[in-house]
């Protein structure tokens, strides 16, 4: 069972205190979007084997959504960061690159 540190309150929360929210950094497609773009927004997920950026809510805590960079193979948590970010911060990226030197994220 995972432990993730909530970046808003600093609590090392266990998985039962959290609610999962799926892939992070999805770009919302509104009424102007094409069928293809909207379908992709709703359904296309990277389902990464490796470094995944994902959403969690500290549901049994401060109630804030945050994002985590987690390795779906090793379960390593490279870091957590605020939900308002457009991507993982430098610290998180650097931690990922210790294990995956060629890793980069695309939004």
């Amino acid at each position: 069972m995972l432990i993730l540190t909530c970046p808003y309150c600093g609590v090392r929360a266990e998985e039962t205190e959290l609610a999962p929210g799926g892939e992070a950094h999805l770009k919302r497609i509104g009424p102007d979007g094409s069928d293809e773009a909207f379908e992709s927004y709703l359904f296309d997920r990277t389902n990464t084997k490796g470094v995944q950026l994902e959403r969690w809510r500290h549901a049994y805590g401060c109630g804030k959504w945050f994002l985590a960079a987690r390795d779906t193979v090793t379960m390593q948590v490279y870091g957590t960061y605020e939900a308002q970010a457009f991507g993982p911060n430098e610290d998180v990226q650097a931690t990922v690159r210790v294990r995956h030197p060629d890793w980069s994220y695309k939004l």
């Binding site: 609590v11 039962t16 205190e17 549901a59 805590g61 401060c62």
Partner: protein
């Protein structure tokens, strides 16, 4: 028959005011209005009759005597005048339990996935007790360490049941 690990009782109703605001901007005004220092992250500040708990980066819970509920609410509202904020009297929404006695820690350790040793003396932790959300902090004596626990009113009977089950005589956590 051994004693229960801790006494479990419902604390007398008190005033609870929920405050949402940008605490960086409004913190000083709120501290002045409540007469309490701003609590640090996941801490609770108390002066014996009132307490101010950190609930989230933009949320505080002010606790005080029941008859001061309107005064407390209005003071916070005034402190946030001109700010984007939300002040609500939520005194009826929650029930507070006092868990007191030398083995009160054991009761909490059975219900909450929280490392109590790592929690500061003035810590306030929102977490889970068995299957419901709660907040806990240390308060009271009862011959040892004591705890306060708040939960939503609808689950108060459930919470009382699990607290009493966790406190049954002889079920201490010390190695045997």
């Amino acid at each position: 028959m051994a004693e229960t690990l801790a006494t479990i009782r419902r604390a007398a109703p008190c005033a609870m005011i929920s405050i949402r605001a940008d605490l960086g901007r409004a913190g000083d005004a709120l501290a002045e209005a409540t007469g309490l220092a701003m609590p640090e992250q996941v801490r609770i500040v108390t002066d014996g009759s009132r307490a101010l708990g950190w609930m989230s980066p933009d949320e505080l819970l002010l606790i005080g005597p029941l008859d001061a509920r309107n005064e407390m609410r209005d003071a916070c509202d005034q402190a946030l005048a001109g700010e984007h904020g939300l002040v609500l009297d939520v005194s009826d929404m929650r029930v507070m339990f006092a868990i007191e006695g030398p083995r009160a820690d054991d009761v909490i350790r059975k219900l909450c996935p929280v490392d109590l040793d790592a929690m500061p003396q003035d810590g306030m932790r929102r977490t889970r007790a068995a299957q419901v959300g709660v907040a806990i902090w240390r308060e009271g004596d009862g011959g040892g360490r004591g705890w306060r626990l708040i939960c939503f009113r609808s689950v108060a009977d459930y919470v009382e049941t699990i607290l009493r089950n966790a406190a049954i005589p002889g079920a201490h956590l010390a190695p045997r």
